[in-house]
């Protein structure tokens, strides 16, 4: 990087954007410079603060030239907050249920219950009974704190101490089926033996699956390569991550050579990435020549033969690269699987811009035959000290997979949380009239 001035590079790109010669703005909430800035920060060519200063300058310069005014710039500026240290995570109590409760409004399937000192939530599927005329295929994703989807879905929860609380629904779906979480207005007793949902009692008897946890360093790799591979693994809202800006910056900095064969592999993976998890590959070429873990990722892409079931987990990792992760639940569906996690310190924002403000984890998983899965942030909440939410993985689990290693991966190390996939008691849903 001798003689390379990263700030000048970024500012010159900023000038090109002002002159209408720069890259297109793919995400209205992000600066087009973000991609290059992230790459240059990753290789140590510029400090994060200095890069942020450049991005701020040119975001405002763009804003004063746009009809939208300063909206997006201010949104970016306001989005930043000082970072704090994470808190020590405690395992949550997760009890798989798979109980269906039917009443005149529809069928409420309680998949599992999560209890902790600060929250109580039920993972549910709600199938309302529709009148014949009103059916539609509308889909949506929303948080509901009044009437729930398809009718009044805000049941009251009661624990074995006699505490009763209201709930709110957050999730998504169509008129026929909604999936999401009912979150209690106040936490119930974490060790309650049962809960009642509008008077229907659920005994909470399930035990969590024991997991093996270890921390391991990542294999040595060129910093620029590692950055680009990580970048590919972090989901974007609008299809495959844009990496050419990063590559240009890394080449300019001398961190990679234009004819580096790894760049060819990275571009091939980028081409093969689906526009949305579960969709067919965006690329037209084959994926057999791609390196692992990507090759196995794409091999099962689009399959909808995953096992269905929920495993309650009780796994909290030691600190690795400053992160700690607690995994409390693994829920497998035909088209993919998800986990419920707490992460300390908390994550800010979403997508690649979030990666600039705070460090991110890449979520890999692999079964015992090295079939890989890639996770992306789903619904998310929390603060600076810790965040809670869902990580949704694709492709679906192999039906015969017997073991899954969940690997939250930081810059230099990763946690490996190995889960035995024992679906025996988690498959069938018991239906009971309310």
């Amino acid at each position: 990087m001798a003689g390379f001035d990263a700030e000048l590079y970024l500012r010159t790109r900023g000038e090109e954007i002002i002159l209408g010669l720069g890259p297109e703005r793919h995400r209205p909430w992000d600066s087009p410079l973000l991609e290059q800035a992230q790459a240059l920060v990753a290789i140590g060519a510029i400090s994060r603060a200095r890069a942020r200063s450049v991005i701020d300058d040119y975001s405002l310069a763009e804003a004063v030239r746009s009809d939208q005014g300063h909206h997006s710039h201010h949104r970016m500026s306001m989005a930043r907050a000082p970072r704090s240290r994470g808190v020590a995570l405690k395992p949550r109590r997760v009890v798989p249920c798979n109980r269906a409760i039917e009443d005149s409004n529809g069928v409420l399937l309680v998949r599992h219950v999560t209890l902790s000192e600060d929250t109580t939530s039920l993972a549910i599927t709600w199938r309302p009974i529709l009148s014949g005329q009103s059916r539609s295929r509308r889909r949506g994703h929303m948080a509901m704190f009044g009437h729930g989807p398809g009718g009044p879905l805000q049941p009251q929860l009661t624990d074995d101490r006699g505490t009763s609380v209201g709930t709110g629904f957050g999730g998504g779906g169509s008129d026929e089926e909604w999936q999401g979480h009912l979150t209690a207005d106040q936490p119930l007793a974490p060790d309650t033996a049962w809960i009642e949902i509008d008077g229907t009692r659920l005994e909470l008897t399930g035990e969590p699956v024991r997991c093996d946890i270890k921390i391991e360093p990542l294999a040595d790799e060129a910093t620029a390569h590692r950055f680009l591979w990580r970048r590919l693994a972090i989901a974007d809202f609008h299809g495959p991550p844009e990496i050419e800006g990063s590559i240009d910056a890394l080449i300019a900095a001398g961190a990679v050579q234009p004819d580096d064969p790894v760049l060819g592999q990275i571009r091939a993976v980028q081409q093969a990435m689906p526009h949305h998890p579960g969709m067919s590959s965006a690329g037209h070429g084959g994926t057999r020549s791609l390196p692992e873990p990507w090759r196995s990722l794409f091999r099962r892409q689009g399959r909808e033969d995953g096992p269905e079931g929920t495993l309650a987990l009780s796994a909290v990792t030691p600190e690795f690269d400053g992160f700690s992760v607690a995994v409390s639940c693994l829920e497998s569906r035909r088209e993919g699987f998800g986990i419920e996690v707490d992460i300390a310190p908390g994550l800010e924002g979403h997508g690649p811009s979030q990666g600039f403000e705070s460090r991110q984890l890449v979520w890999w998983a692999a079964d015992e035959r090295d079939n890989h899965h890639l996770g992306q942030l789903g619904s998310w909440s929390g603060g600076e000290s810790y965040s809670s939410g869902e990580i949704n993985f694709w492709p679906a689990l192999r039906p015969k997979a017997r073991q899954l290693s969940i690997m939250p991966t930081s810059e230099t190390s990763r946690a490996v949380i190995t889960v035995p996939l024992t679906w025996d008691n988690a498959q069938a849903g018991e239906r009971e009239p309310a």
């Binding site: 000048l8 010159t12 900023g14 002159l19």
Partner: protein, 298 residues
């Protein structure tokens, strides 16, 4: 040696101030509030009455930002680069309006009358200023706590200045560029640390000119920022347009609107008397430079 503003014509804008249209005029490196005779008294009275004075707020904002490098980032690169800033400066200042302490602060000199103070402080690195003092030196007087952050307030001030119209935003860019040209010549540490920002400011303006001069689909371009005394060049090299110009080109050539003349790119503009200008120019073939002489006067 002539002053940096010699080649810049006066500029003037009007703003809504106290329910009337008032004039702000820039001339000879200074911004003046023409309709405020005793600015100090007016400012004090306004502050005591909990009111503001747009003209004086803008004078103060100008003083805050007369060496602010963000002006070069935000300001126009040329006639084709049009800003969409809200030209209602009272709206901009409404959220950022500087507030004057009404006790414990002594205002000195011809308060708020013009904006050259900070520039003169900059200049005073090499020579004594003329004793003029602006009220509320930037960042030195305490300000009442407000809901806006200092950064947001400064940003709003900038936007207000850039929305003034009447050529004042362009004069602000020239003012800032002149301050940094001087710092570069004096080889200050601050100038060295800010080199990337200065070179980018030059880059954007040079290539905005070249782009419209040679056509939007012109060849790739490269810029080398040279020292103020270096040999200025604009050549074709390996299919690239290569410019070698000092940062001072922004002040001497770009700011007065001399970047292209008679279809030629201007490398430098010099005068001994402020009336006769000697321009070194290059044609679109990027061949040898030729001199163009301009005579100002009857």
């Amino acid at each position: 040696m002539t002053e940096w503003w010699t080649s810049l014509a006066p500029a003037q804008a009007s703003v809504e101030c106290g329910g009337k249209r008032h004039r702000l005029r820039w001339e000879n490196g200074m911004l003046q509030a023409l309709d405020h005779g005793d600015a100090e008294s007016e400012r004090t009275l306004a502050a005591l009455g909990g009111q503001s004075c747009t003209c004086l707020d803008l004078i103060e904002a100008w003083d805050h930002h007369c060496d602010d490098l963000r002006v070069l980032v935000l300001g126009s690169r040329g006639p084709t680069d049009i800003l969409a800033v809200d030209d209602d400066v009272t709206t901009q200042l409404g959220v950022s309006r500087p507030q004057v302490m009404t006790s414990g602060v002594t205002f000195a000199g011809s308060v708020g009358r013009s904006s050259r103070s900070r520039m003169q402080r900059v200049s005073a690195m090499g020579r004594r200023s003329s004793g003029w003092t602006a009220y509320g030196p930037a960042g030195q007087l305490p300000r009442p706590p407000g809901r806006m952050s200092q950064k947001a307030r400064a940003e709003s001030e900038l936007l207000a200045l850039l929305g003034l119209g009447g050529g004042l935003p362009e004069r602000l860019v020239a003012t800032v560029a002149a301050a940094w040209q001087e710092r570069l010549q004096q080889r200050t540490r601050l100038a060295a640390r800010s080199r990337a920002q200065l070179q980018a400011a030059l880059h954007g303006r040079v290539f905005a000119v070249i782009r419209s001069w040679l056509g939007a689909s012109g060849p790739e371009s490269q810029l080398k920022m040279i020292g103020e005394q270096g040999k200025r060049r604009l050549i074709s090299e390996n299919g690239y347009v290569r410019a070698e110009l000092p940062f001072g080109w922004v002040v001497d050539v770009w700011a007065p609107g001399l970047a292209t003349i008679w279809g030629r790119f201007c490398l430098s503009a010099n005068t001994d008397d402020g009336c006769t200008w000697r321009l070194i120019t290059v044609g679109p073939d990027l061949g040898s430079p030729s001199v163009v002489t301009l005579q100002l006067g009857i």
